[in-house]
Amino acid sequence: MIRVVIPAHLRTLARVNGEVQLEVAGPVTQRSVLDALEARFPVLQGTIRDHMTLKRRPFVRFFACEEDLSHEAIDAPLPEAVVYGKEPYLIIGALAGG
């Protein structure tokens, strides 16, 4: 089971509290996790990735295991700690500055 943490605004849209747990079929990659997340919560389509290009929105970041994966290959395997549910995959609203 993959653990995913999504930002508060997206939890409100998806009407969930806390972490989301997802079954991901096949290789666990950023793409497969995001596909599974959007399939379970269609309301999140377009909020994390562009509808058409499926590129990450500019001010969304992906973290796991204290690493920023935002610029990693979308089809690269995620760390084992994420695959086995020891660590969550974090979807973050980027620091706004101020």
Binding site: P7, A8, H9, L10, T12, L13, V43, Q45, G46, T47, I48, H51, M52, R57, F59, V60, G93, A94, A96
Partner: protein, 371 residues
């Protein structure tokens, strides 16, 4: 007795205010959609409890929310705004052509007859329509064929901000776009043409009489005379009596003719309202005095309305979608400011009170008169 419902969109969330027909005491609910920009909310004339809201965020993009119970509860509907075919390009700041990119929905205009039909004005400027209550959106791509390659964003973005549906002719729609101008369709959105003849934009355009490129801030009409339009342009208040075929300036004795909103009295088609702002680089009321100006002659002759409005040290702005009129016998006027106040008048603008203060910057105000 009639009831009033005010829909207030702000930089950080939305509020719904209700009052009885006396309009003296208002109950406020919200914030709705906390933390999101609410560019616009509007109710369906055919089903006033059906309300649509444009919710957007720099992080998470565009959402459309729909309420079926007058704003008590909301559900997210479709947020997929995809330009028809190959999007093409428009003029960019550096003179090059730039691909059309969806950024946000500025304005939602529900059909006069069908609560499931809504038009959306978006940035980069284009118009979309839903026929299923917001689940799916299709572009009316003929609009961008009206010299869209020559449109160029201004500093505020290239947003389609005004949609006026002609109540006497379902095939006729007027729209306005920042830094592009006003446009009209007479075939329900298939084809469009610029309606900017008579606008003059000296110092803003190399050709002051250009067919497109004028920075139209707002247009308004009275439902009984849909061929008569009033316009607050970047500078100049304008009027057309022939559905936009030609415009004449009616700024008259206004102290400054820069501003954003313009609206028409519910029962007097020649009574119009503007909020003069000092200039395009100084977005606050002249001399720090917040004054609505009213013309009872369809323009040219204007009177300041000040009673109840701050007359010193006021440096707010009033944005284009932040003024509305109700249809009570004694017409009510409402407007919101970037300082977070919503002012209302229940006597056609003679006197004003602050209905609410200290909201985030107000982006839009709509009012519903409910039976």
């Amino acid at each position: 007795m009639s009831k009033l419902r005010l829909l207030v969109g702000t930089r950080k969330w939305a509020f719904v205010l209700t009052s009885d027909g006396k309009r003296q005491k208002w109950d406020i609910t919200g914030p709705h959609f906390a933390g999101w920009e609410i560019y616009h909310m509007k109710g369906s004339p055919a089903d006033p409890d059906r309300i649509y809201a444009s919710q957007c965020s720099g992080w998470f993009g565009q959402m459309i929310q729909r309420s079926n119970d007058g704003g008590k509860t909301w559900e997210a509907v479709g947020n997929k705004f995809v330009y028809e075919g190959t999007p093409g390009t428009h003029q960019w700041y550096d003179g090059t052509q730039h691909p059309w990119e969806f950024k946000r929905v500025w304005h939602l205009e529900p059909s006069l007859k069908d609560p499931d039909v809504v038009y959306a004005g978006v940035e980069d400027a284009a118009m979309f329509r839903t026929d299923d209550g917001g689940q799916n959106w299709q572009e009316l791509a003929g609009l961008r064929a009206a010299k869209g390659n020559l449109w160029q964003p201004g500093a505020g973005g290239m947003g389609l901000h005004t949609i006026l549906l002609d109540p006497s002719n379902p095939n006729r729609i007027y729209i306005a776009i920042s830094a592009a101008g006003a446009f009209r369709t007479d075939d329900a959105g298939k084809t469009w043409r610029p309606i900017n003849s008579g606008l003059k934009s000296q110092y803003q355009l190399p050709d002051p009489d250009a067919e497109v490129g004028h920075c139209v801030h707002r247009i308004a009409l009275h439902p009984s005379r849909p061929g008569v339009l009033f316009m607050q342009k970047h500078w100049d208040v304008m009027r057309t009596d022939n559905a936009g075929d030609s415009w004449n300036e009616v700024s008259g004795n206004l102290p400054t003719d820069f501003g954003f909103p313009i609206d028409v009295h519910a029962h007097e088609p020649e009574t119009i309202y503007v909020v003069p702002i000092k200039s395009d680089s100084e977005h606050y009321p002249l001399d720090g005095k917040l004054r609505v100006y009213r013309s009872r002659t369809g323009g040219n002759e204007w009177e300041p309305l000040t009673k109840g409005l701050p007359q010193q040290d006021c440096y707010v702005n009033v944005l284009r979608d932040a003024m509305a009129v109700d249809s009570m016998d004694s017409c009510g006027i409402y407007f919101g400011t970037t300082g977070g106040q919503v002012y209302g008048s229940s006597d056609s603008g003679d006197t004003w009170t602050a209905i609410v203060r200290d909201l985030p910057a107000v982006l839009s105000v709509e009012v519903q008169t409910l039976k």
